[in-house]
Symmetry: C2
Subunit: 646 residues, 2 copies
């Protein structure tokens, strides 16, 4: 019996992708099938409203959601995850809807050199030698004759024994398969890429001719954004870098949603494919295309990510990370080969993951601490990573405490109605005019905004607080008369309009409502109280902090004063703050160019003491106090207290 | 634009397989697609006539071939490789047409014990220790708590450090992926299969609970037939064995045709898939089904095959083996993992190939020499493997010479019009009545024959010679009046009818014609002259041979007297001959149960001196003399000379 199924064609504009699906298919699913990856921090449950699209034509069913106003629905706006296809459809996306827009940077030698020099300086000043065990060995062989008719492999082996003084050489199958062809195509003159091991050498690559380049790949696997560099292993020079959204975002915005998704049928597989094939391999493809090299030329890789990302990268179930007693499958991943995880570089390239410290403090933090030099400093520093979660390290060369704050994705725009990551169209700076309460904004990449990213939200809340629009609890002053302040009947709360529809990319108002503010206060409260708990544990106060190191994507745009104003950062002098950018990537880069740095990273992870906040008796009280603007204890913010006369 | 293509359905009887193909598809191709693998020693070029089928219905185009008589064509017989489908068709196969009929043997403990004991005796008497570096380690772990919350991997590692006193443990990705699940499903009680290495341990397998079995796979990869055993690594007991045709046969009957096919587009890939997925994985599946174990339980594998088979097994191009100066890609294959070659056992199981000696003397011969004990004997022995090619080793504990005879596939029924391998339906023994010149035959497995296998052809030619049907040149005596002797107009030569159509499986006459005899004389001449050349090289004569060891599938059925009569084997006393059966498999088995045997195999391969016959000045003359019955120099066959009064 043949079941007849209606097929519908869905066209996505303006990118022009078309897909055929069975009638009744969910629009989010159809988009995925078309290779259009819509943002879905909530995992497609209709909670976050990030997968909003505009239907131009075509019948469909849709479920009611308070996240869309009646007006928006009339204009054709829908949440893709709550829409089911009934007919051929045309769907319009704004150009910034799609997660996976890869940005490949043309590294100018200047900016590259600066990055390289800084990292090399940090390594050297800490006594860590730069250099790896990779070796490029050109080999010229005598051609075989009937009297010297030993096989290809034994012929190379004979030569290598003379060159290396070592017989224990490990030949992977791929090299053996290539060898007969390369030898004959290049007149018995080849170049081998070798990795020295404890007991001998592993051959990683073979190329014809006298010269070969060997590249390394370092990747910061962020929950939201993934950044990668290709590095010349010989010189340490960064040859190309690229970043994009983490394609796993379609399955959930934060690690908890990802872990939940991983336990669904084929969930782990999908998440693993989304990060490896969907994200990292795409970045690699773009970069090797630009450099005109082959994937086989990339012979080493280093990854830094949080513990959950590390599990998903290797295809290991992260389920037990969120179940008491919170047990990861591993902290120190075994050294694997790229082929083990279907990574699109040389199959035999070693894969090194920065080690995790605990379930919620991962290799990205270890990389950051390595890159910051904190572990080797006399000064007591506070290291804060404001990524999708917030992780904190407090310490110096003698001791290090660390904890994870359940800040959620707010600093990357998650769980905020008009929030977005720091990409094209994001408002990243805000000032509010004291007179007319109008905002003055700066937008990334375009003149018109689409949403607000983390640094913009911090500015906005600080300004709203300083200009009296909101109180210490984050509630909007209802007595203010302004077209910017209005009641949202859908949500049943007040909101502030940052941009009206006629000023925005997709014609929709950009607002910050009281629920958003509440979410954000809990996020910043989690970070501040985490820091306080670490200080309490070692019997220190905010004044004892010599330096605050701010890492994470949010860093560069972060306004310190505003961050202190909202009670995210401790109220200490400005000059004690330092931004170190994507220190997870920097740490991964360090481990790529230095074998000793990899060893050091393991030592660092081992020497960090993890404080489980939920098990700390003082934490909950600290957290509740920190969910105010700036804090219930205004004595902790003396400069603000003075300025605002609190 | 849509191109409309007619589709035709082809049904294969009596197995009932159906396949849909595009009109114009070759019938051989269609059969392959249906999973019906027809014998095709010539590689589907229409030269060998082995892919004969009967068309029951359906229009088709076919090319003329002298291999089918007009009568046969009228009866619907076609060569599949010369037939193109025009319509829906029904094709009838005899039950023995198909290459890939797997035979799984239920190993009785008696026969198994005999095989095991013999091999163990040989190893022990040569001072080779039985035993491997595999270790089964049961581990019971303390369950994680909030105070003892180290990750799964580190928890096992901590325990292993105590048990093994070693920290250097290599975790493959598959084990890491399984670990969290197995630990929790089996209440933190697991059993690990470990391989001790120079620097530590490799984990190969993890199972839940207290016990685990570890199996090893040994395979004789013959050009024509593949035989495999599953062995309990702990006890050395053979648990199951299986054999089938080598599915590569569809791409060519001998190694030269396979090598040629490997250079075609996707040829190497197809040959590799035919042996791995098409043949060996099928055998493994059948055996593990019978034993009710999983593929992960098979944690070691050993393969013995000729040099070309070794290349095709690893997917390495064998092209240069047949091009002067005859260079293999490797003799000593690196130790690989099963996952490298898509072998359907534990992905991390080491794969060990018996080393090759040269382009035409492979690991199967090294395995045979190992198993025979020749390398450790005071007696000078002649080792002859009569497989698809003929390889010879002459020597003792002090020296070994070896050569390859280009005998072709004649001993396995190839290049003989009614020849077939020693499978169901093969005539394997023949006597001819001196009075009426009628043959008395024995058939394998059934009462009716389909063709003649190697041992049958030897008997037949010897009997024809002894009974005066053929002369020393192999020409049929045209003066004999008998319905068994007739002229073949197609081929333009005389032939002897072994069985008339009414006595055979497919109703066709089984005959041996002068061209067949000529082919066979060249094959036996190649072996005899090869042996003579080795003797000449060391200044010895036939009389100096203390023992003749006959290996290969043909062995068990071989009649020594008849083999001497036709001049295949040297004319020395019967008691000096010994059959050792499939010594390639025995040698592989030895290497499975003994690490030291693997080392010894390498030593044996290194110590064998390869004589390139084509470069030997005396060889061609020897060969020509040996292409007669029994030889131009009848003094070499004194017993025969006396008996026949030559």
């Amino acid at each position: 019996m043949i079941t007849y199924m209606d097929k519908c064609q869905v066209t996505f504009w303006p990118i022009g992708k078309v897909v055929e699906v069975i009638k009744g298919t969910n629009l989010m699913e159809a988009a995925r099938k078309a290779g259009v990856f819509l943002d879905a921090p909530c995992g497609g449950k209709g909670h976050c409203g990030k997968c909003r699209v505009m239907i131009k034509s075509g019948q469909h069913k849709h479920e009611y959601t308070p996240l869309l106003s009646e007006e928006e629905i009339q204009h054709g706006y829908r949440l893709a995850c709550l829409t089911w296809i009934q007919q051929d459809m045309t769907v319009e996306l704004t150009e910034v809807d799609v997660v996976n827009d890869i940005m490949v940077e043309n590294i100018t030698s200047d900016s590259s050199r600066k990055f390289v020099n800084r990292t090399v300086d940090i390594l050297k000043s800490s006594g860590i030698k730069v250099g790896t065990n990779f070796k490029i060995v050109p080999v010229k062989l005598p051609k075989p004759t009937i009297d010297d008719n030993i096989p290809d492999l034994e012929r190379v082996q004979r030569e290598l024994k003379t060159i290396l003084g070592c017989e224990n050489i490990n030949w992977p199958i791929e090299i053996l398969r290539k060898l007969p062809v390369v030898l004959r195509n290049f007149d018995y003159e080849i170049t081998l890429g070798l990795l020295k091991t404890e007991s001998g050498y592993n051959i990683i690559n073979v190329t014809g001719g006298k010269r070969a380049s060997i590249y390394g790949l370092c990747v910061d696997v962020g929950t939201t954004t993934v950044a990668a560099c290709l590095v010349d292993i010989d010189t340490g020079e960064i040859k190309s870098s690229a970043s994009s959204g983490n394609l796993q975002m379609q399955y959930g915005g934060d690690i908890i949603n990802r872990i939940i998704y991983s336990t669904r049928e084929n969930g782990l597989e999908k998440l693993n494919q989304a990060i490896i094939e969907g994200t990292i391999n795409q970045l690699v493809r773009e970069m090797i295309k630009k450099l005109a090299i082959t994937e086989d030329d990339i012979i080493l890789s280093v990854f830094a990510g949080n513990t959950t990302m590390a599990h998903l990268l290797l295809g290991v179930i992260p389920e037990n990370i969120r179940l008491e007693p919170y047990i990861p499958a591993f902290n120190n991943a075994p050294v694997l080969k790229a082929g083990d995880i279907a990574l699109n570089i040389n199959k035999n390239a070693p894969v090194f993951l920065l080690p995790n410290v605990a379930s919620y403090v991962g290799g990205d933090i270890v990389a950051g601490v390595l890159a910051s030099g904190l572990w080797n400093s006399d000064e007591t520093a506070l290291f804060i990573d404001l990524g999708t979660n917030g992780e904190i390290v407090l310490g110096n060369r003698d001791w290090m405490l660390t904890c994870a704050c359940s800040a959620g994705p707010a600093f990357e725009g998650g769980e905020i109605s008009c929030g977005m990551r720091a990409a094209t169209g994001a408002i990243h700076e805000v000032r509010i005019d004291r007179q007319n309460l109008r905002p003055i904004v700066k937008v990334i990449g375009t003149s018109k905004p689409k949403g607000i990213c983390g640094s913009g939200i911090i500015d906005l809340i600080a300004e709203m607080f300083l200009k009296g629009i909101i109180d210490m609890k984050g509630k909007i002053n209802q007595n203010i008369k302004s077209d910017r302040i209005r009641y949202n009947h859908h949500l049943g709360c007040f909101e502030y309009v940052v941009a009206f529809g006629n000023e925005t990319i997709d014609g929709l108002d950009i607002t910050l409502n009281e629920i958003d503010i509440d979410n954000f206060l809990r996020a910043k409260g989690a970070v501040y109280s985490g820091m306080r708990t670490l200080l309490n544990n070692i019997g220190m106060s905010v004044a004892d902090i010599d330096k605050v190191i701010i890492a994470g994507g949010i860093g560069q745009n972060l306004d310190i004063t505003n961050s202190i104003t909202i009670g995210l950062l401790p109220d200490i002098p400005q000059e004690k703050f330092e931004f170190i950018g994507n220190s997870s990537l920097t740490g991964a880069y360090a481990c790529l160019i230095s074998d000793e740095a990899r060893e050091k990273a393991k030592e660092i992870a081992d020497s960090m003491t993890y404080i489980e906040l939920s098990a700390d008796p003082t934490y909950m009280e600290e957290f509740i106090s920190a969910c105010f603007l700036p804090h219930t204890d205004t004595n902790l913010f003396p400069s603000l207290k003075k300025a605002m006369n609190l």
